[in-house]
Symmetry: C2
């Protein structure tokens, strides 16, 4: 089974701490050795072309080497890229060979925004008609599911809808795909993070008052109280809890949760 | 003006030597400081999912920092990623603010393949109707031109045509865009490298017998005769010649050249 990591924040935050523990799961504390990937949405604040200050830029790193041996992963662990929406994935191949084009997260453009998707699980007999403009490049069930979701979103809405409306559509689409097998996924367009669980997914919200956290996979602790401002809010969604001393909440099967500005929304 | 670098080879080759000289042009030997990017197509050879051994995977790095200061550029210079099709770009902003979403190369998927595009120049009054599934995320004329080319390719061919057929269509489309201004561009889908010049573009073909080459921008020489096998062929396309002692051929204005397996084709 693959491993997922998502982060959604109200202020650009570096993912170095969480990514360190997460990357250990590729071949050191666990055996997910068939590639990995991470994507960061980034903005340069408000400007004439982007008065909302939306995070439209996307930095995307994938590697077919295990994350624990990858020079690119080593760079990410060292270079504190700050982002409000991050998705990372470590692959244990179930469908599709070990190849760069099969590494998550996958990226497509819709309505003038990049969308990034990563999946954990296994879909059986999932061969939807892909008649529109989203076709898989690789050979995974995951990319096929992502292309179908993009196609159906494009059919359901003429232009970018609100996060609340998108969440309603995504909940319907996720249930259809999930009927074919295990469909834990993370999706982001730089505005929100959608997380759907069939089996394993849990999340934590970090906010004032911040505390110490100790990684489960490596002997490393961090005191967020020293690093974070009192208004910072960070939500982390992951396959298995990353820290020993925080309150991780498990998703119920079939649940789609939506995170905005570092907090779980009511959508 | 921006700087373009493209490489097309018959065997996966690392771009470290050419990229070193090229990256110096961002803020050291020249003043292109508004971001940069590079993309590498990669395959893992033939396998059950990919009997042709096509290079379907894409590694894509962009940064809004100058290439001469970017830790990501430093990684690329050090870590020899091998590829048969590479496109790199250093940006000097003419249209669109300095932001990650405005860094080239841009990437889209069409017919189950990634396409990568980088542009040098400036287009005036270029506002084509983008009614289909390719919309710009950033605010550059370059990404607009790329989206329009993808849209028109998708309209002209139902599925992936041959390189020769694609080249005929691209030649017609490039001429239409070029009527709006300077349109030097590089485009690749992992099979071929298309290069179009309005003003400045030149290329060199490296093949047996290989010789010494000295970078124009840095005090560095390499003896390709020691590094390359006698069957290796590499074509390099660039805005301004990278080396002092090789025969660079300039493009004529309006010319679209197509490179496959490290050599100029007849298309």
């Amino acid at each position: 089974m693959c491993q997922l990591l998502g982060m959604n924040c109200n202020t650009p935050t570096d993912v170095t701490f969480s990514f360190r523990g997460f990357a250990q799961r590729a071949g050191v504390t666990d055996h997910h050795e068939d590639g990995w990937g991470i994507g960061f949405f980034e903005g340069q604040g408000t400007n004439a072309d982007n008065p909302q200050g939306d995070d439209r830029g996307l930095r995307h790193f994938i590697d077919h080497l295990p994350a624990s041996q990858s020079p690119v992963a080593e760079l990410i662990g060292r270079y504190p890229i700050k982002s409000r929406n991050v998705i990372a994935h470590i692959r244990k191949a179930t469908q599709g060979v070990v190849a760069l084009e099969n590494c998550h997260p996958f990226v497509r453009e819709l309505w003038g925004r990049y969308w990034m998707f990563a999946h954990n699980g296994d879909l059986k007999n999932f061969a939807p008609r892909l008649h529109a403009s989203f076709k898989p490049v690789g050979s995974t069930d995951s990319e096929r599911a992502f292309c179908w979701i993009m196609q159906e979103l494009a059919k359901s809405h003429a232009a970018m809808p609100s996060i609340a409306e998108l969440s309603i559509t995504l909940r319907e689409l996720a249930a259809q795909v999930a009927s074919h097998g295990t469909f834990n996924f993370l999706l982001s367009n730089g505005q929100a993070l959608w997380a759907h669980a069939s089996t394993h997914l849990c999340f934590v919200e970090r906010r004032h008052p911040f505390t110490h956290a100790s990684l489960s996979d490596e002997d490393l602790s961090v005191n967020f109280a020293e690093l974070a401002a009192s208004t910072d809010r960070v939500a982390v969604v992951v396959t298995a809890a990353l820290t020993r001393n925080e309150n991780w909440t498990a998703f119920a099967p079939g649940e789609l949760k939506v995170f905005e500005s570092g907090a779980l929304t009511a959508w």
